[in-house]
Subunit: 222 residues, 2 copies
Amino acid sequence: MASTLTNIDSPHDAAESLLDAAEAEFSENGFHGTTTRAIAAGAGVNAALLHYYFGSKEQLFARVVERRAAEINGRRRALLSELLAQTAAPTLEALLEAFLRPTIEFGHDATRDGQRYARLLVHVAAGTDERSRRLTAQNYNDIAQEFIARFVDAVPKLEQKDAVRGYLFTVSIALSLMGRTGRAGDLSDGACHDDDVNQAIEEAKIFAAAGIRALATRRKDD
Amino acid sequence: MASTLTNIDSPHDAAESLLDAAEAEFSENGFHGTTTRAIAAGAGVNAALLHYYFGSKEQLFARVVERRAAEINGRRRALLSELLAQTAAPTLEALLEAFLRPTIEFGHDATRDGQRYARLLVHVAAGTDERSRRLTAQNYNDIAQEFIARFVDAVPKLEQKDAVRGYLFTVSIALSLMGRTGRAGDLSDGACHDDDVNQAIEEAKIFAAAGIRALATRRKDD
DNA sequence: GCGTTAATTAAGCGCATGATTAATTTTTTC
DNA sequence: GAAAAAATTAATCATGCGCTTAATTAACGC
């Protein structure tokens, strides 16, 4: 039985099936809560192939994170390039749009993949353990520096350290939208929810832009 | 079966040692990454006592979270009461102070294992898994509703759903400060760090207050 | 076709896991 | 001070873990 259910047309080989299944499992149960056997079963693949292709559970996890980070950051850079082609001095709102839309939009993707990526990202970006910190730095420090520099250019009186703080706050509110745990609905009897992508992005932009500007204009005499 | 009569007023050394050791282990490695044996070893106690006192690893985890949540939310309510005794209509900044200071301050307190509590809180409050969502709702929904109601009172034109969103964003930026992963220092060559408690609280207040006010005053005709 | 390599498989190794048991020590109670 | 209850112990269970191995099958260059 060469191929059971996987169509031969799509380049969905064992390694990619493992990546997909790993993303699903890791995003639901975290690194330690996920077993290599569950990943292999989810991929419909022999358990030994996981180590054959990726060496270890640890390396597979890193690959899963890298794959999506490259995709998202690529889209961020594309939007940023478009923006800079239009105007040499984009507004803070436009920068936040380019930064936030790829993640939040992808996280709200109707296909189950979006939700999986979103929760995996929350797991890694919010995690305080050594592995999460390492992967976050490796995959997101460059893009962070690019946008932080643009924030400084776009907002008068915004110092570097305030731009860093504002960036980190912005990331954290984006993560809170991407988790989609239903807590907003719980706290508002359904009046506030996370279903509308554009509204979510808009709210994050409004909040983050006002916050960053406030960091720039606060009194500096303390 | 489970210790029905073991009321916790008596100085149960072993039980409390287990709670402390569990907090340390869980905060460092998460639920799945922590072993009951490591907890028992950290507490200097026989491994079977964990199940004797708490029934299961799961219930112990819940107790660890509850213990600190009760402490923090108690301090929040005390500060809120003080505030309301002074003025019937406190400002948003004053409300944010009462809400943020207990957590952020406790998270920065090295002498009381604040770092451990902080990371445990990040783990639970940012987690998207079912256990994290359940514990967050159980331990923080009441305090959330109390402050959300005050936000609505304090900010003109702030609708309930925007207050909920603003509250959740505020929590997320507080969590990003509490994790203390050192990322701020990495991104700024040390210029931006998480060491100064009062500065951290101030930055969170400035950012959150501006963000919430911006949510209230945005055009509602879209 | 053959030889070589890559891909895949079933089986299992060594060990750690959460939890349980039954026996023993300590504490409480009267 | 003995009986009862609570606390603590060592030993162990059944299971699942990440990972490895050795053998088998499929793919490819020539």
